[in-house]
C-alpha cells in the first residue's frame, strides 16, 4: 500500500527481535523476572506489536495502533504485566525501527508516540 509499511514489513522479524533486546536493556528488572516461557511470550508479543504497526502504517490511520495498544494493555494487565513494560517495548520498537527500517521511522514514531500517550492517559 505504501513504502513505509512495506519497509517495516520487510524487516518485521529483525525489528521485533531488536525491540526485545532493547527492552531488556532498558528494563533489566523485567528481563530478570522472565523465565524461558516468559521470554518467548515477550518475543511473540513484540512481533504482534510490529505487525499492528505495519497495519497502522499501511492505512495511515494512527487510531489503529492506538486502539491495538489499549487492547493489548488491557489483555496484558490480565496476565499481570505492568503497562510500563509495554510502554518500554513501544519505545524500544521506535529505536529498532529507526535502526533497521529507517524509511518507516518518521511515521512509525508518530503512531508509537500516540499509543504511548494514550496509555499514559495524556
Amino acid at each position: 500500500v505504501n513504502e513505509r509499511a512495506e519497509a517495516l514489513d520487510a524487516q518485521l522479524d529483525p525489528v521485533a527481535r531488536r525491540a526485545v533486546e532493547l527492552t531488556y536493556e532498558a528494563v533489566p528488572a523485567y528481563a530478570a523476572q522472565l523465565d524461558a516461557r516468559g521470554r518467548k511470550h515477550c518475543e511473540d508479543d513484540a512481533r504482534y506489536h510490529v505487525r499492528a504497526l505495519v497495519a497502522s502504517l499501511a492505512i495511515g490511520e494512527v487510531s489503529i495502533f492506538v486502539d491495538y495498544a489499549r487492547w493489548c494493555e488491557a489483555l496484558l494487565r490480565g496476565y499481570g504485566v505492568d503497562a510500563e513494560n509495554l510502554l518500554a517495548m513501544f519505545r524500544a520498537t521506535a529505536t529498532a525501527v529507526r535502526e533497521l527500517a529507517p524509511a518507516a521511522y518518521d511515521h512509525a514514531a508518530v503512531h508509537l508516540t500516540a499509543a504511548e500517550e494514550a496509555l499514559a492517559g495524556r
Binding site: 500500500v1 492505512i59 489503529i64
Partner: protein
C-alpha cells in the same frame, strides 16, 4: 418481534454455552428458528454475532479461557451448519460472490453467516473461509468469475493481508467489485477509503451492494 427478545435469547444461549450445555444452547436458538418465531437475520445479526463479540470481550478481560472462546465459536459454527439445512432459499436475487478472509484473519464465523444469508436470498456464495492465501484467492476468482468478492477483516493484524489481497485482485481483475466487512473495516473507514473498496456493515448493505452491481 412479538414474544422474542433477541437480547434475552442471546444471553440464554451464551449462558448455556459457557456452562458447556451445548444441546440446551442449540435448542435455545434453533427451536424458535424452526417455529418461525425467529428468522435467519435475527438469529445471525441479533443473536450469534453479538454473542461472538461478547465472547471476544470476555476472553480479552480474562473472564473466560481460550478454550471457552473456542467452544462457543465452534458451537456458533455448528448452529450455522444446522440452520443451513433448516431454511429454504427465497430467491429474488442472482449472481455469484466469493467470500474469504485475507491471510492472518482467522475469524470466519461472520462470513459463514453472510454466506448463508446471501444463499437464502438467491445468490451463489462461494465461502473460502479463514486466512485464504492471496494467490489461491485470485486463482479461485479466475476460475469462477464472480460478480463480486467480499473480504472480512476483524483483526488489525490482518490488514496487511487484506491490502495484498485487494491489490492482487485488482491486478488480475480491474473491474471486479470488492466489498469488505468485519470489525476492522467498519471501525476504521480509512481502510475502505485507502483500498478503494466498499464497506458493507450487514446483510442489508451487502445485498444492496450486490443488487446495485447486478443492475449496472
Amino acid at each position: 418481534l412479538p414474544g422474542v427478545d433477541l437480547t434475552v435469547v442471546a444471553q440464554r444461549y451464551l449462558d448455556h454455552a459457557l456452562a458447556g450445555r451445548d444441546s440446551e444452547a442449540v435448542r435455545t436458538v434453533l427451536d424458535p428458528l424452526v417455529t418461525h418465531a425467529l428468522n435467519l437475520n435475527e438469529l445471525y445479526e441479533g443473536v450469534l454475532a453479538p454473542v461472538a463479540e461478547q465472547v471476544g470481550e470476555l476472553w480479552h478481560r480474562s473472564e473466560i479461557s481460550v478454550a471457552d472462546e473456542h467452544f462457543v465459536t465452534l458451537l456458533n459454527q455448528r448452529v450455522i451448519a444446522v440452520a443451513v439445512t433448516l431454511t429454504t432459499p427465497r430467491g429474488g436475487h442472482e449472481g455469484e460472490v466469493v467470500l474469504a478472509c485475507p491471510p492472518d484473519e482467522l475469524h470466519d464465523t461472520a462470513l459463514r453467516m453472510l454466506s448463508h444469508l446471501l444463499a437464502a436470498v438467491g445468490y451463489k456464495a462461494h465461502l473460502l473461509g479463514a486466512s485464504t492465501p492471496v494467490r489461491d484467492l485470485v486463482a479461485y476468482v479466475d476460475r469462477v468469475r464472480p460478480g463480486a468478492v467480499g473480504l472480512s477483516v476483524a483483526s488489525p493484524l490482518a490488514i496487511p493481508g487484506l491490502t495484498r489481497a485487494v491489490a492482487a485482485l485488482r491486478d488480475a481483475h480491474p473491474e471486479l467489485r470488492i466489498f469488505v466487512g468485519g470489525r476492522c473495516a467498519t471501525r476504521y473507514p480509512a481502510v475502505a477509503d485507502v483500498l478503494g473498496v466498499t464497506v458493507c456493515r450487514d446483510i442489508a448493505e451487502t445485498v444492496g451492494f450486490l443488487a446495485a452491481q447486478s443492475s449496472r
